[in-house]
Amino acid sequence: MTFWHYLGRKLFQLALTTLIIVTLIFFLFRVMPGDPVKTIIDPQMPPEARAQLRAQFGLDKPPVVQYLIFLKNAARGNWGVSFFQQEPVFRIIMRKLPNTLLLFTSAVVLAYLIGVPIGKRIAWKRGTPTEAVVTFVGIFFYTTFLPWLALIMIWLFAYKGIPLPWGGVLQLPLRGMMTPEIWSDPAASALTKGLDVAVHLLLPLFVLVLIFFARFMLLMRSSMLDTLEEDYIVTARAKGLEDRVIMNRHAARNAMLPVVTAMALSLAFSLNGGVLTEKVFSWPGLGTELIDAVMKNDYPLAQAAFIFLAVIVLVANLIADILYIFLDPRIGFES
């Protein structure tokens, strides 16, 4: 089997999984208690108005017919129109997706850059007080209730502020991804605006990084502890290699393999945390959009947002699988 065969098979699996997810999500929303036409609470709406709305939403047809219509349209790239925003859902998602990606990718990358080396080192120093303390901190953040932590952070850094040694108080922004006063000022330069977003990013990023970092660190630590028991580590030590070389080239390199897969999977489980973070920090992302859509039974938007997130997780897993090929020579292909 060549790499391209492998990739083809993986892509086929991905397409199949997506189709199954699409189907499940479609029917899940329709069996979920609620009726979008009923969520419009208006005593002035006579029965005929609701019937008209139902027809406009396409909900007057049997679910299977609705599903087939949805599939046909989706295949043409038409994901439907949000019931309540009256805008093509694809456009809504595309508008919010970059914000979510900005927050999430930077959080994942930073958490990786911090979490993996620390996890590696504390596993190396197993049994020491440092390891105990860092592991405890990791478990604390791993299990902490995110909105609580986020609110504490907001109160501390954005409301109270941190006194600076040279006077003044460092106050981070409370919310969102931009200062309206700066962005709405025509005189503000692109650099100022960019920095403004960066500063807004700090606090939500900090909270997300703390949580991701804890996750990645603990993953790396346990994987590394397993690896350090391996015979080839004893060999490496017997060879008289330096500790740094043993830790990095032999132990960490092998410990990374399960971590890559686990990280891609943990992305899926961190979605709820991401949604909460967006809500607490008023971050204009896909998560809040999704929650609102679910609350209002806005099927087209909710299902499209869910499918998008599912596909993101699937793609992350595909990338992990491909990365694995390059990391682990045991999965080889004839060239």
Binding site: K38, A49, Q85, N99
Partner: protein, 587 residues
């Protein structure tokens, strides 16, 4: 993993330095921001959500109204303080002629749209014809269904011809959400979609880049999810007008709507001075935190709405009005207000709240107010006993207060009353209603009425709360009722007791139906008021709904920033406030 340690450490240092650097820069920005804003008067408003779109016809939520309502105007509006009809784009009150069922509306002269085109009768006729042709469900049936045609008599006179007399012509067609659109902007849009398969959907999907209106503010910019900026309209025709002792501005240069997705951060922002006003009611739990702040004022206004409990009148035992009345006597609304709402609300004893002064019937009997449990039990017991109900163990309250709970309630035909369920919203959605439901369950049970309170997701209650739906009793609420109690004709009439209808209780009373029809067709306000009073009495006597309580609208604003807010039943966040508030520090 192959990255050289040195390179990585270098990258890390660069990253840390840039983060620190940007922090410091922004610290300085924070300082330089103030003089920049000092030149302009900006009202900074915290919003929980943003409008759905900039299309005023796609008016899906209050948030749309808060923003888009600043750009567009209606012909008339409910005036401040007493809700009397006041002309807005019209020059004078409508002149209705009963003989021809037509109405003349005279328009103000000299008003121009934001792009300089004059506002004329053609715009009104265009807007009306659009509604008559396209039939947007949320507007058409309430406001346009009964209109035969609308024509311009001249550039500043419009004639509405009605098919039949309909009172809601004044309260709906000429009023709240029927904003007049600029014909020169919208005509091509409407023409394009008029003959498509889904004209309503296509019209809703239309997204104007910059809405052209004639209101006190003009649209400038919308950063999705972050903020909306509007500036005051220098040509606003209403500037300097006076009404009921209020002088109109606007007295600010800009409004900056900032989106806060949760109340906690909005409260912090208010305390910090990032915003001047939170445009949504806050929970009483925040009061202590706010009251200590020297620059924050808290207002409390009664709501024109109520939480209610609805019976399915087609089902036993609720089909018996005596049973419903007895249930009403057993609910201790004083306790709910005192203990559950912690006094941040009022009893709701009438489907038209007292705050709606003109339409509220003060003579509707109030059930159980200030009475002891023993007194209320006596009433309930009397009603049920007279109606032939009996108990295996009758409920008793002795002189010393000891209670013998009732058991085995039987209907007049001797059959036991079946156990039924009371659907309440879940505690995470609304703890007050969830707790109230538990108390009501306890009160009824103690009296021998077999009920189970079932916390249920609101979406599920909404789905089941249908005349054809599956429920016994549910608790929901009407939060924002219109001033004109036209809802009395939709919530309780027989014609609405069908699938998707609003008479979820399936209450049927031909006498009431006749009154409702009469009220609907009564164009004389005073005469209509008398009918509406009568309808309130019937509903109070027949109890398809038990109105429970109304939570007060508690709001907070910075008193060091703006003053002159107008208190209304739904709070200070109303169009009049925005027109009349003035900055505390003069320019």
């Amino acid at each position: 993993m192959k990255t050289n340690g040195k390179v990585r450490r270098y990258l890390f240092a660069v990253m840390c330095a840039s983060v620190l650097g940007s922090m410091v820069v922004m610290c300085q920005c924070g300082g330089s921001q103030l003089p920049l804003l000092g030149r302009k008067v900006v009202l900074k408003v915290g919003m929980q959500e943003e409008p759905s779109t900039l299309n005023i016809l796609n008016y899906q939520s209050v948030w749309s109204g808060y923003v888009l309502g600043r750009f567009y105007r209606t012909l008339y509006d409910e005036g401040p303080v007493d809700f009397e009809m006041v002309p807005i784009l019209a020059e004078s009150l409508p002149e209705y002629d009963a003989a021809t069922t037509s109405c003349i509306v005279r328009l103000r002269r000299g008003i121009t749209w934001d792009d300089g085109v004059p506002f004329t009768a053609a715009d009104v006729v265009f807007t009306a014809n659009m509604h008559l042709q396209i039939k947007i469900p949320s507007l058409y049936y309430a406001a346009w269904e009964f209109i035969d045609r609308v024509e311009a008599l001249d550039d500043y006179t419009v004639k509405f011809v009605l098919k039949t007399p309909r009172a809601t012509f004044f309260s709906n067609t000429l009023l709240p959400d029927n904003f007049i659109l600029p014909r020169h902007r919208w005509r091509s849009v409407v023409e394009d979609i008029k003959f498509t398969a889904d004209p309503v959907g296509n019209l809703m999907e239309y997204q104007p880049n910059v809405p052209v209106g004639l209101g006190p503010f003009r649209f400038v910019e919308w950063r999705r999810g972050s903020y909306i900026k509007v500036v005051s309209n220098p040509n606003f025709y209403g500037r300097g007008l006076k009404l009921k002792g209020l002088e109109f501005g606007p007295f600010m240069d800009e409004i900056l709507y900032k989106i806060y997705r949760n109340t906690d951060t909005a409260i912090l922002a208010l305390k910090k001075g990032d915003i001047d006003y939170i445009w949504w009611p806050i929970q009483p739990g925040y009061l202590d935190e706010l009251k200590g702040h020297p620059d924050i004022a808290v207002t409390t206004n009664p709501a024109n709405g109520w939480k209610f409990l609805a019976f399915h009148c087609n089902r036993e035992p609720f089909s018996d009005v005596n049973f419903r009345r007895a249930c009403h006597w057993l609910i201790d609304k004083d306790f709910l207000v005192e203990r559950v709402l912690q006094r941040h609300g009022q009893r709701a004893d009438n489907v038209v709240p007292p705050v709606n002064k003109f339409w509220h019937n003060p003579d509707v009997p109030v059930i159980g107010k200030g009475m002891t449990k023993a007194e209320r039990w006596r009433e309930a017991k009397e009603i049920l006993t007279n109606a032939g109900y009996s108990w295996v163990v009758p409920p008793e309250i002795r002189e010393d207060g000891a209670v013998t709970p009732g058991k085995g309630l039987r209907m007049s035909n001797g059959e036991p009353v079946r156990t039924f369920s009371l659907l309440t919203p879940t505690a995470d959605y609304d703890p007050l209603r969830a707790i109230s439901g538990t108390y009501i369950q306890q009160w009824w049970k103690e009296f021998g009425i077999p009920v189970n309170a079932v916390p249920t997701s609101v979406n599920d209650i909404l789905r089941r709360a249908d005349p054809t739906g599956d429920f016994d009793v549910y608790i929901l609420g009407w939060i924002r009722l219109p001033i004109d109690p036209e809802y009395l004709s939709t919530l309780f009439t027989s014609r609405q007791a069908v699938k998707d209808g609003n008479n979820t209780s399936c209450y049927r009373n031909p006498a009431y139906d006749a009154l409702a029809a009469q009220a609907d067709a009564e164009m004389d306000r005073e005469a209509r008021r008398r009918i509406i009073f009568r309808m309130q009495e019937i509903i109070a006597a027949d109890v398809p709904y038990i109105t429970l309580y109304a939570e007060d609208v508690i709001e907070a604003y910075r008193k060091d920033r703006f003053t002159g807010w107008v208190n209304e039943p739904m709070g200070i966040g109303n169009p009049w406030s925005i027109l009349t508030i003035k900055p505390v520090q003069p320019r």
